[in-house]
Every structure is written in structure tokens, then in C-alpha cells.
């Protein structure tokens, strides 16, 4: 079943067409990647999906509901969570607090309950805290709940970002270069984590990734963007041998040479 569907999405910045007629879909329960050279418009496309940018043209539907015109918080409420290319944690909040912010949508906290700290309020708060701790453990963080997020090492911060995104109980998780800056071992762990997220929680994953080992290792479906357009899509094997993709990455000359060698 199609979870996310975009039709002819166009996003311009002045004269620059950053995303051009992007038609794209993600099936439920899949792990899907978008790849492409730097500046291909991948992150802009993500930002258009999540309501940070308003696309000039085209349709975006998620679970059959249009996302066009929704604010980022409304998009988040439909069940889309994301992480960022450059880690964007709330650095001077603790790890637990970061994850609790991720639960913002689900927490009710009535006004009077909050003032008088009723049993209901305490119950909800304890549950939320417990869930945050479980999520921390799920992504492989231990005993760092009360540390300030900015004091954690890079890999740890990446994990918090994922835990924070999971805290919102999303249906679709958008990961923007989740393994950027990781060494091969860390990437390997990350791949395992993403698989687990999909398998245990049934969360559909859409990611932008540069590390081809990660992309080819985990994706079930790959779309390739170049100059704002989708130039190819298919299974990892198909993409690996696609002429236009090789051209986009290596340049036409190199692609010809590659072909002659093959």
C-alpha cells in the first residue's frame, strides 16, 4: 500500500528550480532511499515534505491526506518524524528532555492537572519518562538521561535524534544522511538499528544517504535525484548498473570509460 505519494512537486528559489516535477512514492513498511550528488535537491525535497518549504506546484499525500499547506507541526501530527543532516538537538536540554519534546503531540497534560499535579498528571509523566528511557535503551544509549545533549559524543547525538524522532510514534521516519560522519563500524550498527526499527515497530523509513555501502546494504528501493529531478529508480541492483546514475555521479566521460571497461 502506498503510504506517501508525491506528484509533480516543484520547489523554486527565485530562478533556481531546486526540486523539479518530483513524482515519487513510498510503500508502507519499506526502507527506501533517495540518493544523488550534492545539491541535487534531496534535502529540499525532504523540507517540502515536512512543511518547512511550501512547494510551488504539485501534490503530496500521506495516508491519503494532502500535506500541502500544512505547517511543520501539523505534518508531524500526521505521523511523520525526521532527523537532520546536521544534528539539531536541543543542546542545552538533557537527553531525556529531548526525547520528551519528541512526545509533545501525544502528551495531554490538562491545565488543572498540571497545576495541582494530580495522579493522572503524575501517571502520564511517569509513563512518558519510562517510554523515553526505553527508547534510549532501544537506540543503544545507557545512563546518559540526565546529561546535556550537547555533551554527548557525535554518535550518541545521532542516536538521540533517532530516539527523539521515534518518540513521536511515527508511521514514516525520514532520515537525512543518518550515517554521515560515522566510521564503518558505527554505520554497520546504524544499519542494524534501522532494520530493527522497521521490523519491530513497522515504521516505514525514507532516507537520504551518501554512503553507498549503507544505501546498497539496506534499501529495498532507491530513487536517484540530480538537478532537482528524479533520474532513476529501482532496486539496488538496477540502480548500480543504471547508465544515467553513473553519469550523474561520475560525469559523462567517466561513465563512458566505465562502459568501455565493462
Amino acid at each position: 500500500m502506498t503510504l506517501l505519494n508525491t506528484t509533480n512537486v516543484v520547489k523554486r528559489f527565485g530562478g533556481l528550480v531546486a526540486v523539479n516535477k518530483m513524482t515519487f512514492s513510498v510503500d508502507e513498511g519499506r526502507i527506501v532511499s533517495i540518493i544523488g550528488p550534492n545539491g541535487a535537491g534531496k534535502t529540499t525535497f525532504f523540507n517540502s515534505l515536512t512543511g518547512i518549504y511550501k512547494p510551488e506546484e504539485g501534490q503530496i499525500t500521506f495516508k491519503g491526506q494532502s500535506l500541502i499547506g500544512l505547517r511543520p507541526d501539523q505534518v508531524a501530527a500526521t505521523g511523520i518524524a525526521r532527523t537532520f543532516q546536521n544534528i539539531r538537538l536541543f543542546g542545552s536540554m538533557t537527553v531525556i528532555e529531548n526525547i520528551l519534546v519528541g512526545m509533545h503531540i501525544q502528551l495531554k497534560q490538562g491545565g488543572l492537572d498540571t497545576i495541582f499535579r494530580t495522579r493522572k498528571f503524575n501517571q502520564e509523566e511517569n509513563d512518558a519518562e519510562q517510554r523515553a528511557k526505553d527508547l534510549m535503551e532501544y537506540v543503544g544509549l545507557k545512563n546518559v538521561g540526565n546529561e546535556l545533549a550537547r555533551n554527548l559524543p557525535y554518535g550518541g547525538q545521532r542516536r538521540i535524534e533517532i530516539a527523539r524522532a521515534l518518540a513521536a510514534n511515527p508511521t514514516l521516519l525520514l532520515l537525512d544522511e543518518p550515517t554521515a560522519g560515522m566510521n564503518p563500524n558505527e554505520s554497520e550498527d546504524a544499519i542494524k538499528l534501522f532494520r530493527r526499527i522497521r521490523d519491530d515497530k513497522g515504521i516505514t523509513i525514507l532516507m537520504i544517504e551518501h554512503d553507498m555501502r549503507v544505501v546498497m546494504g539496506i534499501s529495498e528501493h532507491i530513487s536517484v535525484m540530480d538537478y532537482g529531478e528524479k533520474i532513476a529508480e529501482g532496486s539496488p541492483a538496477e540502480i548500480r548498473s543504471n547508465q544515467r546514475v553513473i553519469e550523474a555521479y561520475l560525469g559523462r566521460g567517466a561513465a563512458v570509460a566505465h562502459e568501455q571497461k565493462a
Binding site: F90, G91, S92, M93, V101, G102, I105, R117, R164, A168
Partner: protein
């Protein structure tokens, strides 16, 4: 097993009150020591009386006055600092929000006097009602001001909303003046006389000849301000809304992607800041007994100085800055004349406040406690 620091009673009641006490006591003690030291230095300048003895004699009263006004400054300063934390701009119309709170409070009391119930009503109830009304009016006004004057300018260069805020400040002054002149024809709003607030509690302190005199309204001012500060601390650190405010302060786009409605949170920030300002307005009115449409300006400017002194964007800093500034001002007002043999008088106290602002900006631009709330991740 939860540790003591996670116990809500400790976290939201004992800790903030302890912090307030430590700040108030610490600032008082430090400034008192400096003053006494100065008294010894200037001792030989003054020949007609013993300077040290005179200094010690009025010291407790000076401290009490300073702490009282310091809490009012702190309460106003929180409005500046919260808005700065979230939007990174100085809401210069906050001083008028504060003034409106004070005038609304006085007008309510004047209304009770007019219908003749003021003398028979419980005096504390009157003050509580005045404060609540001022909080509602100032809080709503702050939200409306944000919607009208700042929201359309979000995303504009930082100078633009700043100018808009200054314009809003003049606009509010003149609107209040217009309303007052249309309704009462009198710009000065005078606190009606009622109750026993002007009387003093006398605390006999062992080792001192005269008892310590605490005016009842000073106690009310401190009490209400502490209540506000504790409430704010709970809101910011103990609730979902507070977490959302802090998240928006640190990174607005990511906060919105976590499902936080940023506009709503900004409105709440203005609401809370305005509410505190309104309450502070009534407290200030109790002390000043007379307000006019322009009387928000100086307290507002001093509260802003407090916020900068403590580290703008930092809530704890605003509290400390307010207390330090109130005390400094009180010390300056009382001792400048004595120490300089009358060359300077109490009227020079404002110079002190703003000299502090300049010194802080030169030597420690991030303020006493640095900046935490507005910090970008």
C-alpha cells in the same frame, strides 16, 4: 528509585525558593560588605559624624528596600528575557505592558472606592483582585501586541521588529493617555488609600537598638513576586508547555518538526511575560502610589538592564540581575549623599543603574550568568 533532585517538591518548590533566598542574601551581603568597606575608606572625609556608625545604622533598611524593588525588577525582567530567549529580540513595549498592568490595578481599586466597597472589603482580597485583573489585561495585551506588531515581521532583519517594538511602546503610552483623558481627564492615576499596608511590622533584632521595620506592602511585594517566580520556574521546567518553550528557544525549525506549534508557543511566551509584567505593575503601584502613562519607561529600562546584567535569555539570570540592580539602586540612593558629604544625592541613583549596564556590556557582554535559554544548539 528516584533521587532527591527528581522529587517534584524539591525540584519545583524548595530548589527555586532556596535559589531566590541565596541570591537575595548573597547580593545583600556582598553589597553590604562593600559599602561598609567604603565607609571605612571615606571615614576621614566626613568630620561631623561617625560615617561607619551611620552606615551600619541604616544598612538593614537599605537592604530591605533594595530587595523589595529588586523583586519587582526581576519580575519585569523575566518578561524581557523570556521573549528574548524565544525570539531573540528586545520587546521594548514590555515597559508599557507593565505600566498598563499598574494602571488597571489602581483603576480597579479606584472603582471599588467609587462604589464605596473599598473600605469594607478585605484589603488582601482587593490587592489579589487587582493583581489578577492586571495579569489578565497585561497578558492579553502582550499577546495582541505580538500578533499585530511582531508576528508580521517574523523573518525580517532583527532591527525591524525592534523598531516596531519601540513604536508600539509610544503607541501604548499615548493610547493609555487618550483613554485616561477621555474617561477621567487626569493622567495621574493615584492609588486610593485603604487598608494597613503603609504600616510597619517591627522586628526586634537582638543587638540592635531600633527594631527592624518592614513595611507590610514590602512584604506583599516580595511575597507575590516570589510566588510568580516559583510559578514560572514550574511552568518552564516542569510542564510540557515549558519544554516546548525551551525547545522553540533553542531551535525553532526542529521544534516545529517535533509537532510543536511555534506560533502558539510564541503567543504563550508573550502571555506569560505580559502576565508577570502586569502583576509587577500592581506591585510597583503599591510602592509608587502614583502612576501615569509614562511611568513604565524607567522601571522597564531598569528591568531590561537587570535582564542584561544577569545574562539576557537566562531566566535565573534575570532574577539575580533584578535583585542586584534593586539593591545597587537602593544603596546608591541612601549612601551617595552621606559618603560624598552631600555632593551627590539620591537623585543620582539612576546613573548607577545605567553605568552598570554600560560596564556589563563592556566587560561581560553575556551577563553574570551567561546565556542558556536562547542558546542555539
Amino acid at each position: 528509585m528516584k533521587s532527591i533532585t527528581e522529587n517534584p517538591v524539591y525540584k519545583f518548590l524548595l530548589f527555586p525558593i532556596g535559589q531566590i533566598l541565596i541570591f537575595a542574601l548573597g547580593a545583600s551581603v556582598v553589597l553590604s560588605l562593600v559599602t561598609v568597606l567604603l565607609a571605612f575608606i571615606f571615614k576621614f572625609n566626613v568630620t561631623d559624624f561617625d560615617l561607619v556608625e551611620r552606615t551600619m545604622l541604616i544598612l538593614p533598611q537599605v537592604v530591605i528596600n533594595g530587595v523589595t524593588i529588586g523583586f519587582v525588577y526581576a519580575t519585569i525582567a523575566l518578561g524581557y528575557t523570556m521573549v528574548y530567549g524565544v525570539l531573540e529580540f528586545i520587546n521594548f513595549s514590555h515597559s508599557e505592558i507593565f505600566m498598563v498592568g499598574g494602571i488597571v490595578g489602581i483603576q480597579l481599586m479606584a472603582y471599588f472606592e467609587h462604589i464605596g466597597t473599598l473600605a469594607t472589603m478585605n484589603e488582601y482580597l482587593v490587592i489579589a483582585l487587582a493583581i489578577i485583573l492586571a495579569m489578565v489585561v497585561s497578558g492579553s495585551l502582550a499577546v495582541v501586541v505580538e500578533r499585530l506588531a511582531y508576528k508580521p515581521l517574523r523573518g525580517a532583519p532583527k532591527l525591524v521588529p525592534l523598531i516596531s517594538a519601540i513604536g508600539m511602546s509610544f503607541f501604548l503610552q499615548d493610547i493609555v493617555r487618550l483613554i485616561l483623558s477621555l474617561t477621567t481627564g487626569e493622567f495621574n492615576v493615584i492609588l486610593p488609600k485603604f487598608g494597613t499596608f503603609d504600616e510597619f511590622w517591627k522586628l526586634a533584632v537582638p543587638g540592635m537598638e531600633d527594631p527592624l521595620r518592614i513595611q507590610i506592602k514590602s512584604a506583599i511585594m516580595v511575597g507575590v513576586a516570589v510566588l510568580m517566580l516559583v510559578g514560572l520556574n514550574y511552568l518552564v521546567n516542569g510542564t510540557k508547555v515549558g519544554k516546548a518553550i525551551r525547545a522553540v528557544a533553542q531551535d525553532r525549525p526542529s521544534a516545529s518538526l517535533m509537532g510543536i506549534n511555534v506560533n502558539q508557543i510564541i503567543s504563550i511566551t508573550f502571555l506569560v511575560g505580559g502576565t508577570l509584567g502586569g502583576a509587577a505593575g500592581v506591585l510597583f503601584a503599591l510602592k509608587a502610589t502614583k502612576l501615569d502613562p509614562f511611568s513604565g519607561f524607567f522601571p522597564g529600562l531598569k528591568a531590561f538592564t537587570s535582564a542584561v546584567l544577569g545574562g539576557i535569555g537566562n531566566l535565573t539570570g534575570a532574577l539575580l540581575g533584578g535583585l542586584v540592580l534593586g539593591l545597587l539602586e537602593s544603596f546608591a540612593a541612601s549612601y551617595l549623599g552621606i559618603f560624598t558629604n552631600g555632593a551627590f544625592g539620591a537623585e543620582y541613583k539612576d546613573i548607577f543603574a545605567f553605568a552598570i549596564l554600560i560596564l556589563v556590556l563592556i566587560f561581560r557582554p553575556s551577563g553574570l550568568l551567561g546565556q542558556t535559554v536562547g542558546q542555539k544548539a
